[in-house]
């Protein structure tokens, strides 16, 4: 591995070039936030496999690639994008190309009164007082290097604001399209969602690589839920197979709020998602369900940390992984129950299916409980396709490959059926067999 300090210097110089660029109309507090995070990143540097949290995630390829900030205007037309997004039906859509907001590819009509959905860059200026109390407060840049890096380069992304008691019926679709243009581009998109008390909304975050190629998406999403807010979050990660994807989702939950997230992570050469849920007030519920699939030499990692800070909160985690070829996966799930968080009810399950002998997965559940009177459980499994089921399917006429493919799909679809929104569930249901078939033809060529 190259001297990581030296490479960090490269990012430092890129950062100082970014800082010298005219800040536009960004308010002073944003500039201060960037500087603080930049300074923090300079101290932290990139994590190495010597860091416990990064033991199985080697970011050397990210560090060694001379990524530079993504070009503003690649040519993507509505017609090119449409096949990848039309499944969502009627929707509000914010589209970003290589990290930059594209008004032409966005659809923002008929939003209920008071709801804001738009570019973060614009919102920082226009609606500064809505953002200032939240932006950068929930995703921790003090000890998370990639959050610090994202915050230091904070420039554009999505901002969604739901006033108290509002309900947005149609899903809000946030699409990040990467369209590499021969250059190794990096983008640091930022998403901030502030859901007021008793508001309800459904959001889809989608990451799409429209062309094969090398790029790096380093995204941070902050979600803040007010009292009694109900928020349905979905994450579709379909980056190109050569891409790097590091995502941090930080959720701050108010009293009796409900956060539910369903994710499907299939793309990227290296893709890591961190989910940090803070149950910051009594009676809140956080449900995370995710499916990750990797083949070839892909690496996929899911790292969750649920912080039960207050009493009577519930958390549920179900993550499933399918690994084939020489792929590697990590599930690291941490549940922290603080001293006053009595009557906590926390459950975590991770099941992995290995389709080849060379695929590996590291699964580490971690419970830290400082309160009495709690219900906590966790379980992890790693296995192969069940031989009895294989025989059952073959005894009904299916050949070995079809039987294996159907069983793999069945393993994944167990989780998808929980998705409440019909069109989103259908989309997940459609992508899984497509991915499975591709994986089988790649891993087990006839």
């Amino acid at each position: 591995m190259k001297d990581i300090g030296l490479v960090t210097d490269l990012y430092r110089s890129e950062l100082s070039r970014f800082e010298r660029e005219p800040a536009g109309t960004m308010p002073a507090w944003v500039q201060q936030l960037r500087q603080a995070a930049g300074a923090r990143f300079a101290d932290l540097g990139f994590p190495t496999t010597h860091h416990e949290e990064w033991r199985h995630t080697d970011v050397t390829p990210i560090v060694e690639n001379p990524f530079s900030c993504a070009k503003r205007r690649p040519d993507i037309t509505k017609a090119e994008l449409e096949p990848a997004v039309s499944w969502a039906g009627p929707r509000h859509q914010l589209t970003f190309v290589n990290g930059h907001f594209s008004p032409l590819l966005s659809v923002l009509e008929r939003l209920p009164q008071g709801v804001i959905a738009g570019s973060l860059a614009d919102s920082c200026t226009i609606s500064s007082n809505f953002l200032e109390p939240h932006l950068g407060r929930h995703a921790n840049y003090e000890d998370q290097a990639f959050v610090a890096l994202n915050t230091a380069f904070l420039n554009d992304g999505a901002f969604v604001y739901l006033p108290p008691n509002t309900m947005v019926e149609e899903p809000i679709f946030v699409v990040f399209v990467s369209c590499p243009n021969g250059e190794a581009a990096i983008s640091h998109p930022r998403v901030l969602i502030v859901a007021g008390p008793s508001s309800r909304a459904t959001v889809i975050e989608s990451y799409l690589g429209l062309k094969d190629g090398l790029y790096f998406t380093n995204v941070v999403t902050e979600v803040v839920l007010g009292e009694e807010a109900v928020f349905d979050h979905h994450l579709l990660q379909q980056e190109s197979r050569a891409a790097y994807h590091i995502a941090t989702l930080a959720v701050h939950q108010g009293r009796n709020s409900t956060f539910t997230s369903h994710s499907l992570a299939l793309g990227g050469a290296l893709a890591r998602t961190e989910v940090h849920g803070l149950l910051a007030d009594e009676g809140s519920t956080c449900t995370l369900r995710g499916l990750y699939g990797a083949t070839g030499r892909q690496h996929v990692g899911i790292h969750t940390r649920i912080d039960h800070a207050k009493p009577r909160c519930t958390s549920r985690q179900l993550y499933k992984g399918i690994l084939s070829g020489h792929a590697s996966g990590v599930f690291h799930g941490r549940i922290l129950v603080r001293q006053d968080a009595h009557e906590t009810d926390a459950r975590q399950t991770n099941n992995n299916l290995l389709l080849s002998e060379d695929a590996v997965v590291h699964t580490t559940p971690q419970l830290e409980i400082f309160a009495d009177d709690v219900k906590c459980s966790h379980g992890a499994t790693v296995g192969q396709l069940d031989r009895d089921v294989l025989f059952y399917l073959r005894s009904r006429g299916l050949d070995l490959e079809d039987a294996r493919r159907l069983m793999t799909q069945a393993f994944g679809s167990e989780l998808i059926r929980f998705i409440a929104h019909d069109r989103i569930r259908n989309r997940f249901t459609e992508l899984l067999p497509r991915w499975t078939s591709q994986t089988y033809s790649e891993s087990f060529p006839a």
Binding site: R387, D388, V389, F391, Y392, L393, R394, S395, R396, G397, L398, D399, L400, D402, A403, L406, M407, Q409, A410, F411, G412, S413, E414
Partner: protein
């Protein structure tokens, strides 16, 4: 007399390295319903699995001809496509796959093999409705994952439903009556009876005579220590019910080869 569908000759088979079947003979022709009765460990399930081609159940000597072809060299899916069907004693659970998806995948594979068009969603649903009625199965049942959380009766009904779908030439029912209460048994037996026909042969494997009150066989065989020791008509089942298996277990029922063994 129609040609035999199944001809088993001097079959020896082992499971987990242990010899279970020791020179078994059986011939089944189209339209016939045969019952094989036998106590635990007589080799009933081994026979079912050897016929279906399950891993770990190995024929070590003898032959099995299915429609004149060597069954033992065919992979399990080829046997199924050629019309052999096993209703499992312990149907397997498949979380994440609905019975509907399962039926559709199996039916279309077999139709394709028979040179028929795959059924589209509408025709498939129509067929599901028709066949489901036969077994008193509702839509909820079909949309649940295969056998997951099913009661014993539901699992067995699901097996017969699959049989009704796949239209086999030879159906082997492995202890389909076990674990069923009388109502469930009647439903299952009703389904089986409805599927009897000139072109279909059936092999009922059972421990008790109970099922045979509802599905009356043409022939009854008693399997003991891996060999058929007695064959007869349906009345043999009643004799077994009355007298148990003990009277067949005497030294006369054994071969000289076994007598010589230590």
């Amino acid at each position: 007399m129609p040609d035999p569908i199944l001809e088993i000759r001097e079959l020896h088979a082992s499971a987990a390295g242990k010899e279970i079947l020791r020179g078994m003979n059986l011939t089944i022709r189209a339209g016939e319903v045969h019952a094989i009765m036998g106590p635990n460990a007589s080799g009933k399930s081994t026979l079912a699995y050897v016929l279906a081609g399950r891993e770990g159940y190995e024929a070590t000597a003898g032959t099995i001809r299915y429609e004149g072809k060597n069954l033992l060299i065919m992979p399990p899916e080829a046997r199924a496509r050629e019309g052999l069907f096993l209703a499992f004693q312990y149907p397997i659970e498949i979380p994440g796959m609905t019975t509907m998806q399962f039926l559709k995948a199996a039916l279309n594979t077999i139709r394709k093999h028979r040179g028929l068009e795959e059924l589209d969603a509408i025709d498939f649903l129509a067929l599901v409705k028709e066949r489901a009625q036969l077994l008193d199965v509702d839509a909820d049942f079909l949309n649940r994952p295969v056998n997951a959380g099913f009661s014993g009766g539901e699992k067995k009904r699901n097996e017969i439903l699959q049989m009704a779908f796949l239209d086999p030439k030879l159906a082997i029912l492995d202890e389909t009556d076990s674990g069923l209460d009388i109502d469930a048994l009647k439903i299952v037996a009703g389904g089986v009876n409805a599927l009897r026909g000139q072109d279909r042969a059936m092999l009922l494997i059972t421990h008790y005579q109970r099922l045979l009150n509802f599905v009356v066989p043409d022939y009854v065989h008693v399997l003991l220590n891996g060999r058929i020791v007695q064959s007869g008509g349906k009345e043999l089942a009643l004799t077994v019910e009355e007298r148990g298996y003990g009277w067949l277990e005497g030294p006369d029922a054994r071969t000289s080869e076994e007598k010589a063994a230590p």
